[in-house]
Structures are given as structure tokens and as C-alpha cells.
Amino acid sequence: MFDFSTMSIPVSVFLTVFGAYMLFYIFYGLFNVYHLIKYGIFGIGLYILVTIFTGGTILLISGSTFMLMEYDWSHPISAEGAAQYYNEDLFPNL
């Protein structure tokens, strides 16, 4: 019989959500830069703007990647463990 408490999935499932969002972000980000370059008024301001956007994006993505690399992505999320995390990790002061 199916036992819900023994079912587990790895934490790496969160990465698929992150990956899907990154695809969306890259699509919108590139489209934004394309608009600026194609329709913007020629001048130094335009280049500064594109550099700030690209630089900020690189900083945010590298920061996220750096922080995400510290975790063990094979760690299972189990229904049984969820109750344990709730008690011990979610509100440690309780």
C-alpha cells in the first residue's frame, strides 16, 4: 500500500522552478535591452543604462548561484521530515 510518510523528493526540485524563472528572466531581460538599443536615442546615457542593467543582473545571478552552491541538493524532502523541519527549523526559538 502507498505510504505517504515514506515518499520523498530531492531538494533539487526547487532548482527546476529557479531554472524556469531564469528562462523567463533572460527572455524579458534580452527583450528589454533589445528595445533600448533599437529604439533608444544614441548617446552615452544609453550605453550606461544597458551596462547598469546587465551589471546588476550579473551581480544578482552570481550572488544567487554562489549562495545556492553551498547546499546539498540531493537531500530528500519527505512528508515525515516536513513536520520535523517545522518544529526544529522553522521557528527555532519556540
Binding site: 531538494v11 524563472y21 528595445h35 529604439y39 533608444g40 544567487s64 545556492l68 547546499y71 524532502i77 527549523d89
Partner: protein, 184 residues
């Protein structure tokens, strides 16, 4: 990329008199919203650091929190830039012969239109409310004889001054056009 000294379909002896974007208050609103949306969660994280650091060390809550945080900060960065692009690409160019209106609405809608100054019938400047009065920005409506009617310079700096310049240019262009007609 558009060059102000080389406009699309530029005519002989045509030059740019006014180049306008919305007033800087529009950029201020975008930057203030961005800062608020960034500082509030960072401040909360700093205030409840004991709890947040415990969550970050959890094998499940840690990755979940970092991913949620990344998605949040990337979203507000992207949103702020899309809004700024919208501001940056909304331009109104007044030359000595025509008005060129370019408006960006979101990322996927763009309107570009132009009208000859000689076809302008009436120009109206409008300043409404406390903010527009204090910071001297507002609307200018340029009325034409055609069916479509009206060009709208949205939230531009010093609308009354712009109205005066447009009215003067319209008069000069009408005289130029009648002189050309008389010369035929």
C-alpha cells in the same frame, strides 16, 4: 538606434527644436518604489536575523529561502528596468516642421506617429494638482484638424513654455507653407 541629428525621413533644413521625455518625477517614482521594495525585506531580514539565519542553515528551508529571495530581487530589478525603459522610450520631438511622437507601452506595444506643424489648429497646456504645480510639469495637447485629433505630451517639464514654443513654430511653419504655395 535613433540619432537626433538624423531623424527618420528628415527633410531639408529640418532641425530639432525640442526633445522631451516625461518629467524626472516619473523616474523618481520608479527609483523610490524599487528602493522601498528592496529595503523593506532586507530590513526585516536584518531585524529577524536570528530566525532567518536558522532558516538559511536548514537543508530544505535554506535552498527554498535563497531561491525565493533570488526570484524576488531579480523580479523587482527587472520590473524597475522595464518601467524605466517605458519612460526612456516615450519621447516627443518637435522640429521646425513637424512633431514626432513615440510611445512605448510595456515591452510589446509601440506607437510612432508624426504630424506637420502646419496642420496644428490649437495647443493647450494643462497643470493639475499639487505635485504638478510644485514641480511644474503637466500635459500639452496639440489639436489637429484631422479625425484622430490630438497629440498628447504626457507629464512633461514646463508645459506652458513648450506650448509657447509649439505655437510660435506653428505660426512660422504656416507662413513658410503659404510662402511656398504663393511661389508656385
Amino acid at each position: 538606434m535613433m540619432h537626433l541629428d538624423h531623424l527618420p525621413n528628415q527633410r531639408e533644413n529640418e532641425h530639432v527644436v525640442l526633445f522631451m521625455r516625461r518629467h524626472w518625477f516619473a523616474v523618481f517614482t520608479i527609483i523610490a518604489s524599487f528602493l522601498l521594495l528592496t529595503i523593506v525585506p532586507l530590513g526585516l531580514g536584518w531585524y529577524f536575523w536570528g530566525m532567518v539565519s536558522a532558516w538559511l542553515q536548514g537543508p530544505v528551508s535554506g535552498p527554498l529561502l535563497v531561491i525565493a529571495g533570488s526570484l524576488y530581487f531579480l523580479s523587482i530589478w527587472l520590473f524597475a528596468f522595464i518601467e524605466f525603459t517605458d519612460f526612456y522610450l516615450d519621447t516627443w520631438i518637435v522640429t521646425n516642421e513637424r512633431i514626432i511622437n513615440t510611445e512605448q507601452e510595456g515591452l510589446f506595444n509601440r506607437t510612432a506617429s508624426e504630424l506637420d506643424l502646419a496642420s496644428v489648429q490649437d495647443t493647450t497646456a494643462e497643470i493639475r494638482g499639487i505635485l504638478q504645480t510644485v514641480f511644474t510639469y503637466g500635459q500639452v495637447y496639440v489639436q489637429t484638424a484631422g479625425e484622430k485629433g490630438r497629440f498628447h505630451f504626457k507629464n512633461i517639464d514646463n508645459p506652458e513654455h513648450v506650448k509657447e514654443i509649439v505655437t510660435k513654430l506653428v505660426e512660422e511653419d504656416k507662413q513658410r507653407v503659404s510662402a511656398l504655395g504663393a511661389g508656385k
